[in-house]
């Protein structure tokens, strides 16, 4: 209820300030020409009135819990030591008494007194905070109202505020990157206090040896088996996605009539919108058993959950990615190039194979890099369908494990967050991040160069 009242107060203050700004500047406009339109004077005052109020409230929201704890601490008898369960329950009882909810059992006199005191203290504090905020707001309103003049650059002030907000929003993306890098690096460094980086990066055995009792690293953390699995699955995925995606893009741009293209393109792109968990489950219950049955049929053992299953389904997922990127890139090859070849008497397919694809090659390579980076970072398909067997081997019909699978198992298990069994997820995450980052930057550079070539 109080929050609604406070919001109403803020809104009223804002409305009054805006109204004041508009009418006051209108009045001033009689004397000389205004620099900014009255609405900007209104917005200017509204900002000056509400921002201080909101600022004070923000401080209150952040600190009120601490203030309450401090008051409770001052009321609880000294014999109840802070940090004990008795202390926590005593504090909870005080809060419940103060809120009027009441507590079960007898209420000790000191509790009643302290509870009432707490309620009174918090009420007074809350009221005075609101009063302070309102006062500051009104002060801002009055002071700035007096400073309104025809020459006041109200619009510029308001626009500066807008621009500041916009800049702040843009910085969120940078903060995210910083957050990712800092958190991954700090946790990885913590991990490396248990396991040496050499063992991690070059070890060929993955066997973290989960122990619930100690935080000691009691197993091997060699990431090479995971790298092998990741690379194998990505390679299989690209073997599926690249020919199908590229040939689809070629057919759609070079052979299909516009009407057909407009129907087929969205249908293929549906594949891109399907959540990966769906692909994962599809791989697990449909593709895996089908492959396994096929393997039996041709007398070749294929595991239902294997690098092959995960790779094929991931390839299907990546098809629209490759095809729409290649589509864009092929379209950018100038028509003149195509005409030149056709004019020499080349057939359409000769033109495509010998002129258009070579001309688009850098762009296509960029697209492939992006697709590989996506395949490496893909999680749910491999979690469900790759079999999670972190063993260094190169047989695609066997279960494997990848970076992403291991990250999920490490952080969804029962291990303590500070244990190496959990922290290794961050070391793997950092490796994954660096690999995908390099692939993406490489792709961006290539694609950008390619675009410039034809602009």
């Amino acid at each position: 209820m109080t929050s609604v009242l406070i919001a109403a107060l803020a809104l009223i203050l804002m409305g009054v300030a805006y109204q004041q700004g508009v009418s006051r500047s209108r009045a001033l406009a009689g004397a000389s020409r205004l620099h900014s339109r009255p609405q900007y004077h209104g917005a200017f005052l509204a900002l000056w009135a509400t921002v201080p109020l909101l600022f004070v409230l923000l401080i209150w929201v952040v600190t009120s819990g601490m203030i309450q704890d401090w008051y409770i601490a001052s009321q609880i008898p000294a014999e109840i030591l802070p940090g004990t369960t008795e202390y926590a329950s005593a504090a909870a009882r005080l809060r419940n008494i103060a809120s009027g909810f009441g507590v079960a059992g007898e209420i000790a006199p000191w509790e009643a007194e302290a509870g009432e005191g707490l309620a009174r203290f918090m009420t007074i504090l809350r009221l005075s905070i609101v009063a302070l905020g309102a006062l500051l707001g009104v002060a801002g309103l009055l002071v700035m109202r007096a400073r309104l003049s025809p020459r006041l650059r109200a619009r510029n002030h308001v626009e500066t505020v807008i621009k500041t907000v916009l800049i702040f929003c843009s910085i969120v993306a940078i903060l995210t990157t910083i957050g990712i890098v800092v958190s991954l690096v700090t946790e990885t460094v913590r991990f490396f206090t248990y396991v040496s980086p050499v063992d991690f990066f070059f070890g060929t055995v993955w066997n973290p040896g989960y122990s619930t009792t100690s935080n000691e690293a009691s197993g091997s953390y060699g990431m090479l088996p995971l790298l092998a699995g990741t690379v194998m699955i990505s390679a299989i995925a690209m073997l599926v996605a690249l020919p199908v995606g590229l040939m689809s893009a070629i057919w759609l741009t070079q052979y299909a009539t516009p009407r057909l293209r407009n129907v087929i393109k969205p249908v293929i792109e549906v594949l891109a919108g399907i959540p990966t968990i769906v692909y994962g489950f599809f791989a697990l219950v449909t593709v895996g058993p089908a492959l396994s049955a096929f393997g039996d049929f041709i007398g070749f053992g294929i595991n239902a959950t294997s690098a092959l299953t995960a790779g094929i389904v991931m390839g299907i997922m990546i098809i629209p990615f490759i095809s729409s990127l290649s589509d864009d890139i092929i379209r950018q090859v100038p028509r003149a190039m195509r005409d030149g070849s056709l004019g020499l008497g080349a057939t359409k397919s000769e033109t495509i194979r010998m002129v258009i694809v070579p001309a688009a090659l850098p762009g296509i390579v960029g697209a492939i890099l992006l697709a590989v980076s996506r395949a490496i970072g893909e999680t749910m398909i491999v979690v469900l369908a790759a079999g999670n067997a972190p063993i260094l081997r190169f047989d695609p019909t066997e279960p494997v494990s990848t970076f992403t699978v291991t990250i999920v198992t490490a952080l969804t298990g029962d291990a303590d967050f500070a244990s190496p069994q959990s922290l290794v997820a961050f070391a793997l995450g950092l490796t994954l991040f660096v690999i995908t980052l390099m692939l993406n930057i490489g792709a961006l550079v290539i694609v950008r160069k390619y675009r410039e070539q034809y602009e």
Binding site: G340, G343, L344, G345, M354, A359
Partner: protein, 277 residues
């Protein structure tokens, strides 16, 4: 190909030069009768008929959008590559209809080469640019044959001296004029009988233009050349015959000298004196 009926009464379009075959004494090899072109619903060419003499340069002039390039592209059926484009009427080369079903468009384009407005070398080496056509058509069998053909083509295009030491470098690295001559050499390499040129100098500077014009002059000895140009001076310099197009119709066709000195049609006169364009 059937002649479209709406074009038959347009007598004005059928100005057959009064003194045919007077230049170079060649008989007509290419003839167009009642050619029409539609882009979807829009008609771009209205019943054009003309005879193009062999081993000479014929220029198509006219204000932009008059259909001269569209008409040019009919001769090697490049209009087939444009969606929604329909060509009517009849075009024959050596008396054979180019639209007859037994003729593969590949075969036609090997005979009728084309040079485009903007130099468009392939993203390959100079050597591979020239060898591209002969290779796909199976005209060369050995490396030695290819080498010889590349050299002779470049020589014919007057580019050999400039590029003989860097045949393995990308064709896109050449200057604009050189690129266009490379494209001409590329066309020559497939051994065409007719070369269509669609404003080949419009993207070039004056010096490069004059080199290309000299080249056209030399090529006339061996090839039938049709050139579309937006520059009347160029038409006057390089061509023996000139056709003036306006709004998709052939207004006047005749000896270049006659067209420029003594045009028969009002519209032609208006164009060459700069009143329309």
């Amino acid at each position: 190909m059937n002649a479209t009926p709406d074009t038959s009464p347009m007598g004005a379009n059928r100005i057959i030069p009064s003194a045919p075959a007077s230049s170079a004494g060649a008989e007509s090899r290419i003839s167009a009768r009642d050619v029409t072109v539609h882009y979807g619903e829009k008609q771009a060419i209205f019943g054009v008929s003309m005879e193009v003499p062999e081993k000479s340069v014929t220029a198509f002039i006219g204000p932009s959008g008059c259909g001269k390039s569209t008409f040019l592209r009919c001769f090697n059926r490049m209009n087939d590559t444009i969606e929604g484009c329909r060509v009517g009427g009849e075009i024959t080369i050596d008396g054979e209809d180019i639209h007859r079903p037994s003729l593969d468009v590949v075969e036609l384009r090997a005979r009728v080469g084309m040079v485009f407005q903007k130099p468009n070398p392939f993203p390959k080496s100079i050597y591979d640019n020239i060898a591209y056509g002969p290779r796909i058509h199976g005209l060369v069998k050995s490396k030695a044959e290819t080498d010889a053909l590349v050299e002779s083509s470049l020589k014919k295009a007057g580019l050999w001296k400039e590029v003989s030491d860097r045949l393995d470098q990308p064709g896109t690295g050449l200057s604009g004029g050189q690129q266009q001559r490379l494209c001409i050499a590329r066309t020559i390499a497939t051994g065409p009988e007719v070369i269509l040129m669609d404003e080949p100098c419009s993207a070039l500077d004056p010096i490069a233009t004059s080199i290309v014009e000299d080249l056209i002059h030399e090529l006339r000895e061996q090839y039938t050349i049709i050139i579309v140009t937006h520059s009347m001076q160029q038409a006057a310099r390089v061509s023996q015959k000139t056709a003036f197009f306006h709004l998709g119709k052939l207004i006047e066709y005749g000896e270049t000298e006659q067209i420029f000195v003594n045009p028969r049609e009002k519209q032609t006169e208006a164009y060459i004196t700069g009143r329309i364009g």
